[in-house]
């Protein structure tokens, strides 16, 4: 009976008589087929699947093929041995008869029958713990913040206690590369570089999501974002996996200035990746409830007229677009308490009466307000915007 041993961890050379598969066989000869090819599949969000291809010499009859993985975190339940088709000039019929698991060992023994003596090409697949990945991004905006260069990186962290001399990495986003991966090594590879990707810089006032900068003075936080739509050239071909993004801006002197960093969510095609840049201090938004009137319809049934007023100043010397976001339910709850029902509302004749239809729904309203630049020779003008709402059938 031929015995072949596939050693998973490096340096485990205790071969002879190490596994008591056959207690009577004290003298054994073991062949050690090397890895011909390794593929590391990282397409699953949480799991790394490793596939090794080896050429295993078999004799006619039944062969024992040992596989051991001391000190590594192979999930033994995921171990699959597949016999790949032999070349047509060397027909060899190979079948796996059974698998035996010795006690107290990270090992198994495949019992493999071969129709003739020869070399079988096999693939061994397993889920390997400790091999993790993360994506990250480097975004460099141009001087006028209209486009940016987005570089996408994959970082593979090898804490699996196993080294791979050369592995083909399949990232799941259409990019493959061949690299070695050493013990406890972290390897970073640039997967994509999207040049001249259109970017929008937004300023947002959203009392529910971003709150107030100064509640006593009704001054809202106004966070800034770069918004990159994952559509159109050069983006839109694949989803952008979640990951940390470092954001820079071209300083016009051959270098770049660091603007901040943010964690971007998984962004499928057609969706927008928003990267937070910090709070804008030169755009000031004060939000007040300007009107709150109640009108009885009948009994305990009321109608409310509510006006939300925004006083906006742009102290920047460039025009900007401010996004104003409101939750109607939040307004109703704040003014009249939460009755557990969705509000039924209508927009009135305030200056804000055309919400963005793509990003507004039964509760949330988004308005875009264009802010002119501060005049070079004068103070920033104060722009007043109003949102008038009628809340119907409230009780």
């Amino acid at each position: 009976m031929n015995r072949t041993r596939l050693l998973y961890p490096l340096g485990a050379l205790l071969l002879l008589g190490a596994v008591p598969l056959d207690a009577l066989a004290r003298i054994k000869l073991t062949t050690l087929p090397v890895r011909e090819q390794v593929q590391i599949h990282l397409d699953h969000p949480q799991i790394a699947l490793v596939e090794e291809e080896r050429i295993v010499p078999l004799v006619k009859g039944v062969n024992q093929v040992d596989f051991s993985w001391a000190n590594t975190r192979i999930d033994p339940d995921t171990l699959v041995l597949r016999i790949l088709p032999p070349p047509s000039e060397q027909p060899l019929d190979v079948k796996v008869l059974s698998v035996s698991y010795p006690p107290n060992e990270n090992a198994l023994v495949w019992s493999v029958a071969a129709s003739a003596s020869g070399a079988a090409r096999v693939r061994i697949s397993y889920v390997l713990g400790g091999l993790s990945k993360d994506f990250h991004y480097r975004a460099v905006a141009d001087r006028d913040e209209k486009t940016l260069e987005l570089a996408q990186y994959l970082r593979v962290n090898n804490h699996a206690n196993e080294a791979y001399d050369l592995a083909q990495f399949q990232t799941g986003i259409g990019v493959e590369f061949d690299k070695p991966l050493g013990l406890n090594e972290t390897r970073e590879v640039q997967l994509n570089r999207f040049a001249n990707a259109p970017v929008r810089k937004t300023y947002t006032a959203d009392p529910v999501k971003f709150g107030y900068l100064d509640r006593a003075r009704d001054q809202l936080n106004v966070p800034m974002h770069y918004v990159i739509k994952n559509a159109g050239h050069p983006l839109g071909k694949a989803a952008l996996p979640e990951g940390k993004a470092r954001i820079f801006q071209d300083d016009g002197q051959g270098g770049s200035a660091f603007l901040g960093e943010d964690r971007g969510p998984f962004t499928p095609p057609d969706d927008e990746l928003e990267l937070y840049l910090g709070l804008a201090r030169d755009i000031v938004v004060r939000r007040t409830i300007d009107r709150n009137e109640r009108q009885r319809i009948a009994g305990n049934l009321y109608r409310y007229d509510v006006t939300v007023k925004y006083e906006i100043e742009n102290f920047k010397d460039a025009p900007a677009t401010l996004n104003i976001v409101e939750s109607v339910r939040q307004i109703r709850d704040q003014l009249h308490g939460n009755n557990g029902r969705d509000p039924e509302w209508q927009l009135g004749d305030g200056t804000l009466h055309n919400p963005d239809p793509e990003k507004s729904d039964a509760d949330q309203l988004l308005f875009h307000v264009d802010l002119p630049a501060r005049p070079a020779d004068g103070p920033a003008p104060k722009l007043t915007q109003t949102l008038r709402l009628t809340l119907n059938n409230e009780w």
Partner: protein, 478 residues
């Protein structure tokens, strides 16, 4: 030659007395000729039947059976005479106080003879479990499905060249225990522990008794014939009442501490379909991707129920490699029943529901807390101060968006459950899964989108007359 590594011995004591001497003993050790293991996966219970050939002299023959360091239940050990089955009689059984894990039988023989005896007992520590490997082809049209059985031996005893039989299904011992104890099932818990254990073993033994075939195995029949290529062992499946018995072809050696895994069946290219389902009660609040097939002949299956077991699911990537998809615990699948492999969320399919509009009408007010109700806006209805809203119809307009960024067209099935008196209005050709669950479907091409509009009208409070969903064909929203 069968050698037991642990001490499960049968000794014929060469003594004139029925009970052995205290200090100086002489014994012969008849070897185990055949052994059969019947392993349950629902209980930590294995029925062992072994046969040995013993030479008896005329008169009383003391036999000692001992099982040091094993997990054999001493009260379950039984002795039967197989060949010949006359002329031999067991006189008594003694459990010596000074020698745990041993017993003595006194056997009366009417002549000097050789006899085959059968010893059966229950042991703990031997278990079996099924597991599965499923590999979809690159196009996800067919599935290669392999089923394995894994036998693990932690009983303390090596069983060499054993015929192994595996019981598929949950053995309903409680009912049988109740039957034996002549008690209602609900009162089985009142039995004393020892009594319960005894009845449990008797129940299991009784259940298995008709299934045990004659033991005609030949010891050492597993020598490899290298002239012909060894084939994987067949696992013979037989129905038995509500259970299935898997019998592994030939014999197997399962050493103590070891586990052994054998293929039970394999099916290449079983046709399957891919479906996306939104069923929050079954799969959580997410659109779930599934592989669907049936345990029937059309799927090249259906020969046996599929026992409970863990399934590893992969997809062939078209270049001899695999992609890992999911690990799932497959629940027992009867013959003819469907097999659903849950692959979780597909990140390339975006599933979003948008609440677009809410409005109310048909408002009814209860006047002064009495039995008088008036509809708002009704002719002659005056502004009544002392009235409360008692009933209304609440309209909510939804848009279900599905974006498919996968390279293949998909079919999605959505179920939404509504409590109360509901009208579901849409042009989606929905059906009712049950009285309060609406089901509708959509096909989305590769790279395409679907926007499915519907309106839910809930009749609330005084207006609620029913507790069911009514389907209406119409446009969503006013």
């Amino acid at each position: 030659m069968i050698l037991n590594r642990m001490a499960c011995f049968l000794c014929l004591l060469l003594l004139p007395l029925a009970l052995p001497a205290r200090n100086i003993d002489l014994a012969t050790v008849p070897e185990r000729r055949t052994v059969q293991l019947t392993i349950y996966n629902s209980e930590d219970l294995t029925l062992v039947r072994e046969s040995r050939v013993v030479t008896f002299k005329k008169g009383v023959n003391p036999l000692q059976f001992s099982w040091a360091n094993t997990l054999i239940d001493p009260t379950s050990v039984e002795l039967k005479f197989r060949a010949p089955n006359t002329g031999l009689e067991m006189l008594d059984t003694t459990f010596p106080h000074d020698k745990p894990q041993a017993l003595y039988w006194n056997v009366q023989s009417d002549a000097d003879r050789e006899a085959t005896i059968e010893i059966s007992y229950f042991t703990s520590g031997i278990s079996w479990a099924a597991d599965y490997l499923a590999i979809a082809d690159a196009d996800e049209k067919t599935l290669r499905l392999e089923n394995f059985v894994r036998v693990k031996n932690l009983s303390g005893e090596d069983y060499e060249n054993a015929q192994v039989r595996l019981v598929v299904g949950t053995i309903n011992l409680v009912e049988k225990i109740a039957e034996l104890a002549k008690l209602p099932v609900g009162r089985v818990d009142e039995l004393k522990r020892e009594e319960y254990k005894d009845l449990r073993q008797r129940a299991a033994r009784k259940m298995m008794a008709p299934a045990a075939p004659a033991m005609e195995m030949t010891a050492g029949a597993v020598a490899y014939d290298t002239a012909e290529m060894e084939a994987p062992k067949e696992i013979i499946k037989e129905g038995l009442s509500e259970y299935f018995i898997y019998t592994i072809e030939g014999t197997e050696t399962v050493q103590n501490g070891w586990a052994k895994r054998l293929r039970s069946f394999e099916v290449d290219a079983a046709p399957m379909t891919v479906e996306y389902r939104y069923r929050p009660r079954e799969y959580g609040d997410q659109l779930t991707r599934l592989y669907l097939l049936k345990n029937d002949a059309a799927s090249k299956l259906g020969g046996t129920p599929l026992p409970d077991g863990v399934m590893q699911i992969f997809r062939a990537n078209g270049s001899e490699g695999l992609s890992y998809l999911a690990t799932q615990h497959l629940k027992y699948v009867p013959i003819g029943d469907k097999i659903e492999l849950n692959l979780g969320v597909d990140r390339l399919v975006i599933f979003e529901q948008v609440k677009q509009k809410v409005y109310r009408d048909n408002l009814w007010l209860q006047i002064r807390g009495g039995n008088l109700y008036r509809k708002l806006g009704e002719d002659g209805f005056k502004l009544e101060l002392d009235s409360q809203v008692a009933g209304w119809d609440e309209y909510t307009v939804y848009r279900q968006k599905i974006r498919n960024y996968s390279p293949k067209p998909i079919h999605a099935q959505i179920r939404r459950e509504y409590a109360g008196d509901i009208v579901f209005r849409s042009r989606l050709n929905p059906t009712l899964h049950d009285f309060q669950t609406v089901q509708f479907e959509a096909d989305i091409p590769a790279g395409g989108k679907a926007e499915l509009d519907y309106e839910v009208i809930a009749r609330m409070g005084y207006n609620q007359k029913q507790n069911r969903v009514e389907l209406q064909n119409g446009d969503a929203g006013r």
